[in-house]
Each structure stands twice: as structure tokens, then as C-alpha cells.
Symmetry: C2
Subunit: 216 residues, 2 copies
């Protein structure tokens, strides 16, 4: 969405040819996310993407060389945005592990990252990840750094908890629960809205660490 402005006006406009290369790339990535959400991975075509972007047929190959590159750039964008979102949330949460973990969970249901179309795009890539090493690496079950942080925070919190359990298992469950909630929000959006999903995740934290996340 937000694109670094390059032209002297400092505000790129999307009309005509003034659009910078970066702007065009982002425009095409957005169109790709739309197509993935609407048609699925297998029915996403370059014709569809260029139509959606309101540009001509050859445009993708001009800016991305190949369809494969466009898709990788799209996944890269989603992954970067996702990572920036949670890192920002944690940074703002101060240095208390309990608050940091709470912020991490809330970040997953932020309205810029957790959109219908982006959820669907993620899911489309998950479906292809097994057979494409590049996708697999980028999906990486969200991010190695993310999981590492969750494990660290759980360990810190569990150290002073009554039920120690195995904090690594709690971290794994939390990761999986968050991904599972995303998946269900995609498969059955009428059953589970953003607020409900967030509430489910917080309920998990309250059950896992009852002393640190008390019921109101």
C-alpha cells in the first residue's frame, strides 16, 4: 500500500507514466493479492492481474521478468509486512514479557495485516508451499524469528508460573493456534470474526498462564 515516493514531487501519482518503478511493482502486487483471493492460486493468470491493475498484458513480464517472480515478490511483500507489524507491536509494548506476548497476539489481528484478501493470499501460498522450496522458505511457518521470540517470552513467563508445563510446547501451541485461527477465518469467515478470534487467542493465554493473564 504505502510506497516510497521517488519523484521530485514527493507524492507519486498513479496516473499515466509518472508512476515510478516501485509504484508499478506495488500496484501489480496488490492486483496479484486480489486475484489470489478471488480466483485462487491455480486460476491466477497474468491476464487477470494486468486487467485488475488496469494495465496491458505484457506489463508483468516487463516489471517482474516472469510470473514466478511476481508471485515470489507478492509473498515476500506479505511476509515483510507481517514481520514489520509484529515487530512494531512488540517494540511499543515495553520490556515486560507478559505485555510483549499480549501485544504479539493482538498484532496478529491487526486490521492492516489481517484482511480477507491477505488471508486468502497466504492460504493460497500455503497450498503450494510443499512443492516449491522458495515459497516454503518464505512462509516458513510465519517466520523463524517470530517463533523464536514466542518461545523466549513463554519461557520467561513460565519461569515464574505455578504450572510450569513445558513452555516450549505452549509456544508451539500458541503459534499453531494463531495460524489455525487465520485458516478458519478464511475457510468460514461467517463463523468467526476478528474479535472472536482475538478473544480465543487471549483465552488461550489466560489458561496457559493464569497468574499473568487474570480474568478481568
Amino acid at each position: 500500500m504505502a510506497v516510497a515516493a521517488k519523484s521530485k514531487t514527493d507524492v507519486d501519482d498513479n496516473k499515466g507514466r509518472k508512476a515510478s518503478k516501485e509504484f508499478r511493482r506495488q500496484q501489480l502486487i496488490d492486483a496479484t493479492i486480489d486475484c489470489l483471493a478471488e480466483f485462487g492460486y491455480s486460476a491466477t493468470t497474468l491476464a487477470g492481474v494486468s486487467d485488475r491493475a488496469g494495465l496491458s498484458r505484457g506489463i508483468v513480464n516487463f516489471h517482474f521478468e516472469s510470473k514466478e517472480n511476481l508471485l515470489i515478490a507478492t509473498l515476500q511483500f506479505l511476509a515483510d509486512e507481517y514481520a514489520a507489524n509484529w515487530k512494531d507491536a512488540v517494540a511499543k509494548a515495553g520490556d515486560n514479557p507478559v505485555e510483549q506476548l499480549r501485544a504479539l497476539v493482538h498484532a496478529d489481528f491487526n486490521r492492516t495485516v489481517n484482511t480477507r484478501r491477505k488471508l486468502a493470499a497466504w492460504c493460497a501460498f500455503w497450498g503450494e508451499a510443499r512443492s516449491r522450496p522458495t515459497y516454503n522458505a518464505l512462509c516458513g511457518a510465519r517466520d523463524a524469528a517470530y517463533q523464536e521470540l514466542v518461545r523466549k517470552l513463554c519461557r520467561q513467563i513460565a519461569r515464574e508460573a505455578r504450572h510450569p508445563g513445558d513452555s516450549d510446547i505452549i509456544a508451539l501451541s500458541l503459534d499453531s493456534l494463531l495460524e489455525g485461527l487465520w485458516l478458519r477465518m478464511m475457510l468460514a469467515p461467517q463463523d468467526i470474526k476478528l474479535d472472536l478470534a482475538r478473544e480465543a487467542a487471549m483465552e488461550f493465554l489466560r489458561n496457559a498462564f493464569p497468574n499473568h493473564y487474570p480474568r478481568e
Copy 2:
């Protein structure tokens, strides 16, 4: 895998032409699961499926009319097998809700249902579910009946629990956690084996209902 025998010998053999129509269909469905797991949805072709099955190019259209039908039949098979698995497990668990829920969780990590290739096939369909109503209905976030049962069991157990919480939210979380664990077993099989995933799910139950699922 197991196919009802139809011929007079009562034991179908797969060689030559004696194979019954049902046997051929199952053979092709198995080949389709293999291809989905190995190549992903978008790269699964009828040529690939027939090669994998060791049969000729036109065979799928002969037995299934179209590629679309083959894929629907494959998903149907996975869904039926999955449902039969948990229903059987619950039936064997007696009529105690606590034991039934434990059986339900364990059923999800049964080695007949929870295979690498089947996990990957499920995930391939998830990725296309949004844009194909038929897939969406069959995936149905696993099964309406399944979720209904989980909700019912959680409600029964929560009724006598100390932390009531909202039992529907716990049920939702459990569903999502199980799906999320499946997803992660697919995306990062080296990180999370069957036993670890089952342990994570059981840990969730212990935290949600500490009085009913005590720590050893």
C-alpha cells in the same frame, strides 16, 4: 485404501482388466493424493496422475468424466475417511465426555488419517477452497458435525469446571489449534512430529480443563 470387492473372486487384484470400477477409481484417487502432495494443486495434471497410477492418458476422463470430478472425488474421500476416523474413535470411548474429547483429539493424530501426503493434499484444497464453493463445502473447516460435537463436549465438561470461561470459545480454539497443528506439520515437518503435536493438543486440554485432565 480398503476397497469393497465386487468380483466373484471376492478379492480384487489390481493387475490387468479384472480390477473393478471401484478399484480403479480408488487407485486414481490415491495417485491424485500423491500428485497433490508432490507437485501441489496447480501442477497436478491428468498426465501426472495417470503416469503415477501406471495407466494411460485417457483413463481419468473414462472413470471420472473430468479432472474437476476427480479432484472432488479425492476431497470427498479424504473427508469421508477423516469423519469415519473420529466417529469410530468417539464410539469406542464410552459415554464419558472427558474421555470422548480425549479420543477426539487423539484421533486427529492417527497414522491412517494423518499422513504426510494426506496433510499436503488437504492443504492443497484449502488453498483453493475460497474460490471454489464445492471445495469450500467439503472442507467446511473439517466438518460441521465435528465442530458441533466438540462444542457439546466442551459445554458438558465446562459445566462442572471451576473456570467456566466460555466453553464455545474453548471449542473454537481447540478446533483451530488442531487445524493449525496440521498446517504446521505440513509446512515444517522437521520441527514437529506426530507425538509432539498430540502432546501440544493434550496440553491445551489440561490448561483448559485442569480438573478433568490432571497432569499425570
